[in-house]
């Protein structure tokens, strides 16, 4: 199973992919994940690859072999379409963060839905930021998206929630579990 999580710095992508990695290990899989830290962290694009199966070699997903793209920001979705396998699922958070050239009016924010639709019909939009805000903390949007992701993967909800609990400090544990459950209810 090959999952790409994409978005921008500060959206909790690294943590979300850490949680998925832990879930996969607890299900007995070999697992690897790869991402680039460093210069990408300050408002730059962030992408994390998570791979799990009986044995994983490369930590990066080859083009054309991604099963699920979990996108935290609309435009970022469009950057990774060439990684998708035919029949792959795309989950898109309905949230736009204009890149610098767009915010100063030099470029237009692209029609992401149109671009995605040309490639596949297997995509869904999720209001993860709004769901997180309704719970009182926008930062839990990553747990909302993990909830959605979990419905496309292994159904063992208990393991997911244990891993979320392990990876998060106590004071935000409950709200993240709630966010995860809200994500699972999203269709």
């Amino acid at each position: 199973m090959n999952v790409i999580m994409a978005g921008v710095g500060g959206q909790g992508i690294i943590l979300a992919s850490d949680i998925l990695t832990e879930v996969a290990m607890r299900h007995g899989y070999d697992v690897k994940k790869s991402e680039i830290h460093g210069m990408a962290q300050r408002g730059g694009s962030v992408m994390s690859h998570v791979r799990f199966s009986k044995q994983v070699f490369s930590p990066i997903i080859p083009r054309g072999e991604c099963d699920i793209l979990l996108s935290f920001e609309e435009l970022e979705t469009a950057r990774y379409l060439e990684f998708l396998k035919p029949g792959a699922w795309i989950v898109i958070n309905r949230y736009r963060l204009p890149p610098p050239t767009v915010s100063i009016g030099k470029e237009e924010y692209p029609d992401v839905e149109g671009i995605v639709r040309e490639k596949t019909q297997r995509f869904m939009f999720v209001e993860a930021d709004n769901i997180a805000l309704s719970l009182g903390n926008r930062r839990v949007l990553n747990s909302v998206l993990l909830g959605v992701l979990s419905t496309l993967l292994e159904p063992d909800v208990a393991t997911w929630e244990e891993c979320i609990a392990v990876k998060l400090p106590e004071k935000v544990r409950d709200i993240n579990i709630q966010a995860f459950r809200k994500g699972r209810e999203t269709k």
């Binding site: 210069m39 490369s58 930590p59 083009r63 915010s103």
Partner: protein, 575 residues
Amino acid sequence: MKKILSGNEAIARGAMEAGVRFASAYPGTPSTEILETIAKEFPQIHAEWTPNEKVALEVAAGASYAGARALAAMKHVGVNVAADPLMTLPYTYIRGGLVLVSADDPDLFSSQNEQDNRNYARFAKIPMMEPASSAEAKDFVKAAYRLSEEFSTPVMLRTTTRISHSKGIVELGEPEDPAEASLERHPAEWVMLPANARRRHPVIEDRLKRLTDFSNSSRFNFIEINDTSMGIIASGAAYQYAREAFPDASFLKLGLSYPIPDLLVREFAAKVKDLWIVEELDPFIENQVRELGIECHGKDRIPLCGELSPDIVRDAVLGAEKKGAKPLNLPVRPPNMCPGCPHRGILWALKKNKCFIAGDIGCYTLGFLPPLDAIDTCLCMGAGINHAHGMSKVLGDGKRKIAAVIGDSTFFHSGMTGLLNLAYNRGVALIVILDNRTTAMTGAQDHPGTGVTLDGSKNIDIDMEGLVRALGINWVQSIDPYDVAMARQKVKEALEQDGPAVIISSAPCALLPSRKVPGVPLRVDADKCTGCKVCLAIGCPSIEFKDKKAIILDTCTGCGICKAICPFDAIGGDV
């Protein structure tokens, strides 16, 4: 017990399990987390940030001379700084195991070049180990200490960004007891005067022969025979890519890639029909294979530049056209200086004084990007001051508006010698020290200027102005970069000096928790805003432009630089 660790975390864990007592480093992507993990999780190891990589390797060598196992970690270009001790250390008696971790950066995710540091192992005639996963990273560190002590040699362990920053499952082991430190004297092996060093050189050459024997029998080099029509020799991340791209091929995996196992290579080459060498960057293994008189494919097809991937390896070997649709032309998100960053104020002041700005390594290098367009050179740590001096000398009086900017951490790393040279040789350049009290680019590590060490204790307090004066500079002024008008005036004054001038632009990094900023976003008065776009020229991510007016976002820290440069007094709020 199993745990998911990054390559860097696994190296730290391996050091602990190997009984390492001393670890040193200068922060540099992608190596930084090695020392951070040691400091956080294994306090039994003395871990320290050093001012630069040369110091890091030399203090580690000192610990080794005293009988302790020691580790020095750095990014690939850091090894250039440490190259002086590295080339002679192999001549000396290595008492406690000494491992140098070099984290290379194929594809330049956060570096100024993509040099292949495996070449250093050959240059220094020391063993090179290349882990291909987190599990191997931990395992190889422990093996590297045994190897170092058995052969009395420094050992280089080379990761790449994909090994350092990827995570995988690691089986945790029990720690060994660290060796006790003790004082011994070995002048014939430690005093590298010509007479001693001359006697030590043959020792190295003999050791290389014995290391080759070791390489042939090492469990880190092994053959996997499968379909013999294709045989691949590979190491590090490239092994994983090739293994995935060609699951049916036969493999010779090299964990110890210098010196290569000559007998194993010959045995493998005899068994397979087409021999391929798959490696990132230089033909390091390939050249060693060819020196054995064995024909092979390698860099005739595999790219020399950038990092590999399973699909790049597959396409290169099969000679396939790069598949996939043509890339979409999407707006990019380049890294940018943060909202509230103090560098914007001083870079603006320098630009307004029409300076040529020699840059250095740090966040301020991002000032190169439009719309700021402020940085004119960036070569390596500490180079900016020296560029400025060399340029202003040959340009002569009257033509100079040459400035250099350098961060505080970089200044302590290798800027002080340049500044001393500027004073000593009566230079005329303006040097601006961007003193933000941290090593910001790599994620806010302390350095000698903050006086805070890796264990969190504060030991010294450096007076930056006093230090600059002590280096022979008479004209030194400290400024607040948020006071843009004053900064501009001081730059003008500095440029009028007959001799070298230093401005210390003093304001903490916007990301430091200690930073006292108003934190209240400023607002644009839409009636006063004429849409002139002057505020956009500082490239602040908190300023948008919509419907011919500037808009300030909630990410604004209220630093006030845009307010100061707005010609129409249209930006307000408490500053």
